[in-house]
C-alpha cells in the first residue's frame, strides 16, 4: 500500500497532494498541467518534494521531515512512460530483462514467460525497438516495468500518444496485468474512458490540489466533483446489467431500473455487470418517451439541478432507481420545453455514441 502526502513548489505552481491507494488501480485524473504527472515523479523519485512523505508498504521512500530520500533505483517502482522510452541499442528481450537483473533474486516472482504471453510480445523478442510499432513498443515497456518485479507500478499517460485502435488493444492488456500479477498500480490519465475502465479508486487533481477521491461512480456522479473540468465536457458513469443480445442486429441489451440501453456489438457476458460512460453532449432530453425517432435507448428520471453558461444549459438528472446523468442542451430548448428542477424527463442516448471505448466491464469481486 502506498501513502502519499507531499508538497512541492515549482516556479509559480504549487502542488499539495495527499492520498492512499487501495486494492487494484488508483487513477490520478485531471487536465494536463494539473500536477498529476508531477505527483508521479515524486513517487518514483525523479524529483524531491519540499515537504511530506511517500510510504510504500510501511517503508518511507521519501520523508523530508525525517531526512529520508531513497534514490529511484532503490525504490523498486516500475514506471511506464508516455512514450515507451525503450533502450534503442538493445533488443526487445534485453529491454525486458534489464530491470530483472537489478531486482533482488528472492523477489523475482514475476515469470518472464507469463508476461510475454499476457502481453503478446513473444514474437518480438529478437527485434530492436526501432522496428516496433507504437503499440508494440508500449506493450514491451509495460513488460519491462513489470519484469523488474516492482512493489508498485506507475503508468504516466501510457496511451496518450496512441491512436484509438491501439488504445483498444492495450487497455485490456493493462486490465489483465492488473488482475493477473497482483501489483498495485497508480495510473495517471486525463482520459475519462481509461480511468473509468481501469480504476477502482479515482483521485481527481486540479491545479495541484486533490479535488475528490472515490470510486468512478462516486467521483463522476456528483456535480461538485466536476467543477474543475471542462464545463460541458462532463460525463456520467452508470452501472448496468447485461440482459441479452440481439444477434440478428448485433446489439447488446443493457438494463437499468430507469430504462434500457442498446449497444452496438458485444459487451461483457450475459448476466454480468457493465459500466458505461455517457458524455453530457451525447444526451438528448424529451418530455415523453421517444416516438418516431431512431433512438432506441432511453432512461427516465427527474431533473434535480441546472447550471447555465452562455447559450448552453447543463441538467443533472436523478435517474429512476439509482444514478445520475448529465445532459447538455441549449438554453433556448430548455426554456421552450419548460424544463426545470422537478420536471420528469426521458434522456435519449444514441447507441452509436456508446462505442466500446466508453464501456467497461467491472472487475470481478
Amino acid at each position: 500500500m502506498i501513502e502519499v502526502n507531499v508538497g512541492l513548489r515549482v516556479g509559480a505552481f504549487d502542488l499539495e497532494v495527499a492520498f492512499r491507494n487501495g486494492e487494484g488501480v488508483t487513477a490520478l485524473f485531471g487536465q494536463s498541467g494539473s500536477g498529476k504527472s508531477l505527483t508521479l515523479s515524486l513517487i518514483a523519485g525523479l524529483m524531491r518534494p519540499d515537504r511530506g512523505h511517500v510510504i510504500l508498504d510501511g517503508k518511507a521512500l521519501v520523508d523530508v521531515e525525517r531526512h529520508i530520500f531513497l534514490p529511484m533505483h532503490r525504490r523498486r517502482i516500475g514506471l511506464v512512460f508516455q512514450d515507451s522510452n525503450l533502450f534503442p541499442h538493445q533488443s526487445v528481450k534485453q529491454n525486458l530483462l534489464f530491470g530483472r537483473w537489478f531486482a533482488p533474486r528472492r523477489s523475482r516472482e514475476i515469470d518472464f514467460n507469463a508476461v510475454i504471453e499476457t502481453l503478446g510480445i513473444g514474437s518480438l523478442l529478437a527485434r530492436r525497438p526501432a522496428r516496433l510499432s507504437g503499440g508494440e513498443r508500449q506493450r514491451v515497456a509495460i513488460g519491462r516495468a513489470l519484469l523488474s518485479c516492482p512493489k508498485l507500478l506507475l503508468f504516466d499517460e501510457p496511451l496518450a500518444t496512441l491512436d484509438m485502435q491501439r488504445k483498444l488493444e492495450i487497455m485490456p492488456l493493462i486490465e489483465q496485468v492488473r488482475d493477473e500479477f497482483k501489483v498495485p498500480i497508480v495510473y495517471v490519465s486525463h482520459a475519462i474512458e481509461e480511468v473509468v475502465r481501469l480504476a477502482a479508486t479515482i483521485v481527481v487533481i486540479d491545479a495541484g490540489r486533490v479535488k475528490a477521491i472515490g470510486s468512478p461512480g462516486e467521483v463522476f456522479g456528483r456535480v461538485a466533483a466536476h467543477a474543475a473540468e471542462e464545463r460541458f465536457d462532463r460525463a456520467s458513469v452508470l452501472t448496468m446489467k447485461v440482459v441479452g443480445a440481439n444477434e440478428a442486429y448485433g446489439l447488446t441489451e443493457l438494463k437499468h431500473p430507469s430504462g434500457t440501453v442498446w449497444l452496438a456489438g458485444p459487451a461483457g457476458s450475459i448476466g454480468g455487470i457493465a459500466r458505461i460512460i455517457v458524455k453530457a453532449t451525447d444526451v438528448t432530453l424529451s418530455l415523453g418517451p421517444p416516438h418516431q425517432l431512431s433512438t432506441r435507448s432511453y432512461l427516465s428520471g427527474t431533473i434535480e439541478g441546472i447550471e447555465t453558461d452562455g447559450p448552453l444549459a447543463m441538467a443533472s438528472i436523478a435517474l429512476d432507481g439509482e444514478g445520475h446523468l448529465f445532459a447538455t442542451v441549449t438554453r433556448h430548448a430548455f426554456d421552450e420545453l419548460g424544463l426545470g428542477s422537478g420536471v420528469r424527463v426521458f434522456a435519449l442516448i444514441k447507441t452509436s455514441a456508446l462505442d466500446e471505448r466508453k464501456i467497461a466491464s467491472l472487475p470481478r469481486g
Binding site: 518514483a44 523519485g45 525523479l46 534514490p71 529511484m72 533505483h73 532503490r74 525504490r75 523498486r76 517502482i77 516500475g78 514506471l79 512512460f81 522510452n85 533502450f87 534503442p88 541499442h89 534489464f98 530491470g99 537483473w101 537489478f102 531486482a103 530492436r128 525497438p129 526501432a130 522496428r131 516496433l132 510499432s133 507504437g134 519491462r144 516495468a145 523488474s148
Partner: protein, 239 residues
C-alpha cells in the same frame, strides 16, 4: 624537377618510413590514452552541474584557440625536465621532454577539445528519460552510465576519437615546441615535411609524405563516416 610518378611516390625511404610509423604510434597512443578522460569530461560537461563548470569548459577548449606554440611552451614549463611537474615526473620514471611520449602528450592536449566536443554533443543528444528509465528499473548511476549512456554515445565517441587522431597526426606547433624535432624520436610526418622543405632536394620526400598524410587522414574520415551511418541505421525508428 619534382618527380610525381606513382613509382616515385610509393618508393618511401627508411627515414620517411620512420616518420610515418612514429606519427601513427604517437597518434594512436595519444588518442587511446586521452579517450577515458575525454569521455569523463564530456559526460561531466553534458550532464552535471557543478561550480566552476565554465572554467573547466574554458580550459578544455584553450588549446583550440591558443597559438599551438603557446600550448607547447606551456607544456614545456609544466612538464619539461626543469618544469613545474617535470622533476616529480622524472622521480617516478616519466620523462616527457624530447621523447615520443612527450609528443603523444602534446598531441593529446591539442586534440582534446575536438574529442570532448564530439562526445559531449552525443551525450547531450541522448534522451535523458532513457537514463531515468534505467534508474526506475533499478540501475544506479554507474550502471546507467555503462549500460545506457555510454553505448548510446558510441557514434560520438568514435567521431571524437577520429578527430583527435587526425589532429594528432597533423599536430606541429605544440609538438615541435615541447619535444623538438628529433628524427626517430619526435619527428612526425608534419615535422619531417617541414624539415624536408628546408633542405635542397627534399621536395620529393616532402611530396611523398604529403600523399601519405592525405591517404591516412582521408581513410580516417571515411571510417568515421561509415561508423556514424551504421549507428544511425541501427537506432533509426520507423516514425
Amino acid at each position: 624537377m619534382l618527380d610525381l610518378s606513382p613509382a616515385s611516390l610509393a618508393d618511401l625511404s627508411p627515414a620517411e618510413w620512420t616518420a610515418i610509423l612514429l606519427s601513427l604510434r604517437i597518434a594512436v597512443v595519444a588518442t587511446i590514452a586521452s579517450l577515458p578522460f575525454g569521455i569523463f569530461t564530456a559526460y561531466a560537461l553534458a550532464r552535471w552541474r557543478f561550480p566552476g563548470k565554465m572554467i573547466v569548459n574554458g580550459v578544455v577548449h584553450m588549446p583550440l584557440v591558443l597559438p599551438p606554440v603557446v600550448t607547447g611552451f606551456m607544456l614545456l614549463i609544466l612538464l619539461g625536465r626543469r618544469g613545474v611537474f617535470g622533476p616529480f615526473l622524472a622521480d617516478i620514471g616519466i620523462v616527457l621532454s624530447f621523447r615520443w611520449t612527450g609528443a603523444a602528450v602534446a598531441c593529446a592536449v591539442m586534440g582534446f577539445p575536438l574529442m570532448v566536443r564530439a562526445i559531449r554533443l552525443s551525450f547531450e543528444s541522448t534522451d535523458r528519460r532513457l537514463e531515468l528509465a534505467a534508474g526506475t528499473l533499478g540501475a544506479n548511476r554507474l550502471w546507467t552510465f555503462f549500460l545506457v549512456s555510454l553505448p548510446l554515445a558510441i557514434p560520438g565517441i568514435v567521431v571524437g576519437a577520429i578527430l583527435a587522431f587526425a589532429k594528432a597526426l597533423g599536430e606541429f606547433g605544440a609538438t615541435i615546441t615541447f619535444v623538438s624535432n628529433i628524427p626517430g624520436e619526435t619527428q612526425t610526418i608534419s615535422a619531417a615535411i617541414y624539415t624536408y622543405t628546408q633542405v635542397p632536394g627534399g621536395d620529393e620526400s616532402a611530396m611523398r609524405l604529403t600523399v601519405v598524410a592525405i591517404v591516412i587522414s582521408f581513410a580516417a574520415l571515411v571510417v568515421s563516416e561509415i561508423i556514424q551511418l551504421q549507428a544511425e541505421k541501427r537506432l533509426a525508428s520507423f516514425e
